[in-house]
Symmetry: C2
Subunit: 94 residues, 2 copies
Amino acid sequence: MIQKLDRTECDSALQALDGWTYSRDGDAITKTYKFKSFVMAFGWMSSAAILAEKADHHPEWFNVYNRVDVTLTTHDCDGLSARDFALAKKFDAI
Amino acid sequence: MIQKLDRTECDSALQALDGWTYSRDGDAITKTYKFKSFVMAFGWMSSAAILAEKADHHPEWFNVYNRVDVTLTTHDCDGLSARDFALAKKFDAI
């Protein structure tokens, strides 16, 4: 069972990230990435997809042209877990 | 200027496709693709992304795990054009 983080733990983890905010009443985190072009946006998504699969933790994401909206949550715990913050950090590092 | 198709033209073009339906009051078409896994879903998206870039016409799409929701519309004509149906056909052929 994956442990759901409490709000204090989430606040602390969120502060360590750049540009991520809560969504879904605090049960998810979200960020919009903008790129120079569709090719750059999808290139980023391709890298992110590989990291997500490697982590066995997958984003909910929407892309239109140069924009990618990413939402992370952990269905197994109905909220946020350390997995979400770890993947967010990897996405930011791409 | 890209020509916006009228409803009769859209109806005819839509009938030639498989599983696509109107959305946004008929100004867009949409389809949900389901795959066996995230890897299969993103593999399909990678192929679709290349075809989209080649056609210089890009989808609005949402992915969560093995599901991809695709919406096509032509912003330049505020509705549906032949480009949308051509790309939909290519997406189905992948």
